[in-house]
Amino acid sequence: MNCKTFEMFLYNYLDNETQEQESFELEVHLEKCQCCRNLYNYEAEFHNYIKSKMKEKKVDVPLDLKNKILSNKKQFHINYNAFSLKGLASISIILFSVVFLSKVSMGYSTVSENYGADLLKDIKIVSNNEVKLNNWIKKHDYKNFKLLSFDKNKLKLTPLGLAFNKKKVIVYYHYKGNKLAYKNMEKLVYPEENFKEFKVKNKTFFIKKSSDVSIAVWNNKNGTSSCLEAQMPESQLKEVLYSLK
């Protein structure tokens, strides 16, 4: 080890990237060379300075970005699972092909599972055609699900995957016995334990405790699931469910 090689290895040493033998040689050289000791002191100081300074600075990720990424995550599911298509431009094509496919080969549950608010949002961006979209939603709802005769603005039965409440779109996914639900537009994840199980005439429901908006999720006999969102307290929603069955 001479002064030149010492200099070459110094940063590696400071970064803990040297082998045991190299470290040993560096330390031996450091002991006997005043020049390199000065260099070492200087560089170590600089090294510490940068590291400590840089650590101080932290930036918070904007909430907006976090939300976008979480929605990308879901969109990725949608694209990846169902169609393996990439890019937003292709989504408008999905819209039509899926409506077609759902009639031909896919079961309902696939469609509802893979359709999320983000997809809808993106279609809006791409096609900018809300009328078409709304028609599709109506059609989809109508064909696959019984609409309950409640005040439509307040209460609507929707497929698992889509829940519409005026301007709000909410997405629910199956997960572990259908207890977990994702509220998409507001990027809220309801943890599993927020849902409490209760039974109405042999049918099991999972209902989220709330004083404002309550949500009930359940399985249907044909293998699909449904969810019900209502702007009412949990107790009231329970009453509705009792009266339903």
Binding site: N38, F46, I50, M54, K55, K57, V59, H77, N79, K86
Partner: protein, 202 residues
């Protein structure tokens, strides 16, 4: 089933690095909106190329690589070649600079503490570095990636990583010296030589 455990694990892991990626994005683009776009694009790419990621390898480095490549290819006017060529010259200058300032003059023990007096200036000087140098310092000193990980991120051999990092740090030192000189924190005798180096470095 919409979630499978492997995919879910991948996503949960990937989301954890959002803070780091965003900070890097800000450092790269110097603009919050563009940084957001960059990070979002990074995640989009990561999620859609999830199958290409091999489990057990370094996810953090993989994500940083995607962000780096996206930045170089899409957000930066100069292309990758330029980035690599950026600072291959002037190598000897740095060596001379060390000899001048550290070895021959037997540096004044006080002067190594000038860094601390610089305060926030380090961020400004870091921002003023060429992208290639800035990257190296960010990877090594902010995110504390190992040389191996950095090699993965910038897709270059370890030797290149070492020499690039060496030069990047020297460049930052030279700039900090120059700033210290402006602030009157360094002796004049030292200053002249440093100044010469800084001028050459640009």
């Amino acid at each position: 089933m919409i979630f499978n455990t492997k995919k879910k694990k991948f996503e949960t892991e990937a989301i954890k690095y959002m803070d780091g990626l965003y900070y890097l994005g800000i450092k790269f683009t110097r603009d919050e909106a563009r940084a957001s776009d960059l990070v979002q694009e990074t995640y989009l790419k990561a999620f859609s190329n999830y199958k290409k990621f091999q489990e057990g390898t370094n996810l953090k480095a993989w994500l940083f690589r995607i962000l780096t490549n996206t930045f170089i290819n899409d957000y930066r006017k100069k292309r990758r070649e330029n980035l690599i060529m950026d600072f291959n010259d002037n190598e000897n200058i740095y060596y001379n600079w060390i000899e001048d300032n550290v070895k021959k003059e037997n540096r004044n023990p006080e002067s190594k503490y000038f860094f601390k007096k610089l305060g926030q200036d380090i961020y400004k000087e870091l921002d003023n570095l060429p992208d290639s140098s800035k990257m190296m310092i960010l990877y090594a000193d902010v995110y504390e990636f190992s040389y191996k990980e950095i090699a993965e991120i910038i897709d270059a051999p370890m030797g290149t990583v070492m020499s690039k990092l060496f030069r990047a740090r020297k460049m930052l030192q030279a700039r900090l010296h120059s700033r210290a000189e402006e602030m009157g924190l360094l002796k004049e005798k030292e200053n002249k030589k440093i100044n010469k180096v800084v001028k050459l470095v640009g």
